[in-house]
Amino acid sequence: MDERTLREGMRDAVGGEPPLGFDPDQVVDKAGREQRKRRAMVGTGLATLVVLAGVATIPGALGAYDQRSVTPAAPVVETSPSKDEDLPLPGMDPAEPEKESGAEINYPEKKLGPHEKSLAQHAGKAVAEVAPNMDDVHVVHSSIPVRGKPETDKTRRLEITVGFTDEVGPTSTMVSIHAPGTVSESPSRICAPDSGDELTRRQCRVISQEDGSTLVSSLAAPDEGPRGALVRTVRHFRTNGAVVQASAYTFNPQQLDPSKLRRETALTDEQLTELVTDPAFTLTE
């Protein structure tokens, strides 16, 4: 048998194929469900390992076993998301978290009021200050996304994208300002092994500040971006319950060009920290 006959034979063999016996859409739906389930299980497994490692380390850390004191056999194991113990932060209103369940209904973005406009302008100046070597610093976009039915006229979240150009090329940073009581996730939950982002996360640190606020710094693969891309995010959980977040990328979020990937994110942890701790970034006046 030669190559040509084999090709013809293969063509003939599949010539009378029956109709497809499955629906590709259903396969996609099922794959999605399985992936979510798998992620949840991985998170639970990691949480359990962390607890077991803790249990194994405690006796060693305490030195010789003391017969007079009774050590608990094991700490309470929490393997599923529960009400966070470090909530609420002062000023937070846990009764009114942002309604994540309303995600299906996306209302149009609210128009920027004078305060939000001045915040957007301030963001441009703040970025220029923390990164003085950047060129062409400008506000690319600012918006008030509304998720779920807005119950009040108060702005719950403001997102500002500031573009700039450094020695590598153009990119941007995004600053999000969340009003007090609108973020339901606690600092420790963000870095938890079952937070939902554990598979894409490279680093995650929770740093308590002297004023009682908390910084969370993370490095992870972005939801949207070229292969191998990373996003560095610093969140500032303030004592009044507000959260300010800033992200920098190893790519240009406006272009998503995989050939222009940077080695490091355009802004460092320190620069992002400087941005998020800027007291001017507040939605409450």
């Binding site: 048998m1 599949v14 010539g15 396969v27």
Partner: protein
Amino acid sequence: MRTQHEESFRVFARDQAAALRRSAYLLCGDWHLAEDLVQTTLTKLYRAWRRVDEKTQEAYARKTLMRTWLDERRKPWRRAESRDGVVPDTGDSESDPAVAGQRARTRNLVLRALAEVPPRQRAVLVLRYWEDLPTAEVAAALRCSEGTVKSQASRGLQNLRGVIAQHDPDYVGVGAEGTA
């Protein structure tokens, strides 16, 4: 997976499901198993979709299908199974009975011969002569060297000839004439 990624994957799955099933059928000789292989392949692809380069999506899917099938072959209950390459009864649109008969004969022989060739040789033959992939891409899909691909393809064709000679000695002559 983000909505836009999921939507692009849905489009890909709808477009490629039939083509993937044809390749799977040539590998396993069973339309039902071919569908199982394609569904497993699509599930694996879904998990990796965000990392797959848009330009190499089809190649990545073929590679995944091939590995899925080779994994399937390694399962103990498959190892014990002997496929005979039986073809389901299907109609032939060819009006000339002689041509239709020749086609059915070729189909039977090719499927029977493929079923008797060792799995990795079969994988090489399908990728090389059905998918028309260059040697380098076949080597990448099967995680082996290009030299191995060439030798496996050569041995695969030789084995096919052997099987066909055994079942239909006249047919080998037809093929050989075609080459000359």
